[in-house]
């Protein structure tokens, strides 16, 4: 029998997957991104329903507690996403610079 928090979390995961599918439909998310996020929320739901899986995985890898494994993985994922965001921002800045450059050259032509 599932505890209330498990039911709520599974419902949350379902909402999240629906959200991902909607974003995919609106072309706000590419196929790779959509697949990643669906996989991610399905994995979260599985862990919520069968928490022992994480413990078994943690034992297999040699980490003491299942919750520690989740913490390590979460921190790594956050760092990775932050880094990707940073790269994306820098790339946007460069695109921005190209527009500013073109504008400055065009302004000179107009004069």
């Amino acid at each position: 029998m599932l505890a209330i928090f498990q039911i709520l979390l599974v419902l949350f995961c379902i909402f999240a997957i629906v959200g991902v599918l909607k974003r995919k439909e609106d072309n706000l998310l590419g196929p790779k991104g959509a697949l990643f996020w669906i996989f991610f929320w399905v994995a979260v739901a599985i862990v919520v329903v069968w928490p022992n899986i994480v413990q078994r995985l943690a034992d297999y890898i040699g980490i003491g507690r299942g919750v520690d494994l989740v913490t390590y993985l979460s921190i790594s994922a956050i760092f990775y996403l932050l880094f990707k965001l940073h790269v994306k921002m820098e790339s946007l800045k460069r695109d921005f610079t190209k527009v500013i450059r073109q504008d400055s050259l065009d302004q000179l032509k107009k004069k």
Partner: protein, 219 residues
Amino acid sequence: MFLAIVPAYNEEKRIGSVVQSLFEHVDKVLVVDDCSEDNTFEESKKAGAVVLHHKINCGQGAALETGHEYARRNKAEYVLHFDGDGQFDTNDIIPALQKIKEKKADVLLGSRFLDNRSKIPWFKKYILLPVAQQVGRVFGGLKLTDAHNGFRILNINALKKIRITQDRMAHASQIPELIQKYNLNYVEFPVKVTYHEYGQCTVGGLRIMRDLIIGKFIK
């Protein structure tokens, strides 16, 4: 045409005299005003320079590349990178141009360490610059006597190939990297640098490293 590119940000006090002194040594002076908050734009115009204005502050590397784009469109044969704060000596320009022609090099890179005319603050000389040199070697591979010296001359061949994408100060490491990548001939030349301000600080150095690393991940 020999074009001087002067990237400038809030240099109203010195830009006029820098532009005027450049006219004695080059055919045309282009100031790229990187969205200054003072009268850099007007002072540069008054002094007779062609002035391009960035509507948003993009950084020195971005301003230099804007100058490159202008030079490509106007078919400049040589371009000179020259700082707008008056730290370089215009008397170095003609001998430098002669040197790049004589050596048939594509790029001339100024160096503060090939003679002892520059009075470099000791922390910069013995701590920051050796670190910057090593970083430059890791990213660029060129063994230069100086690092992050803004005095450069590029010929038309180098101008076609060198496209600066590092908008801020990391362009100074990117240029040697591109020289190596495109197998361009380069020569170093002694230049005098007079310090008005300290220049890059340690934090600035760390920012450059961050930009260089992030830059490796941008297509």
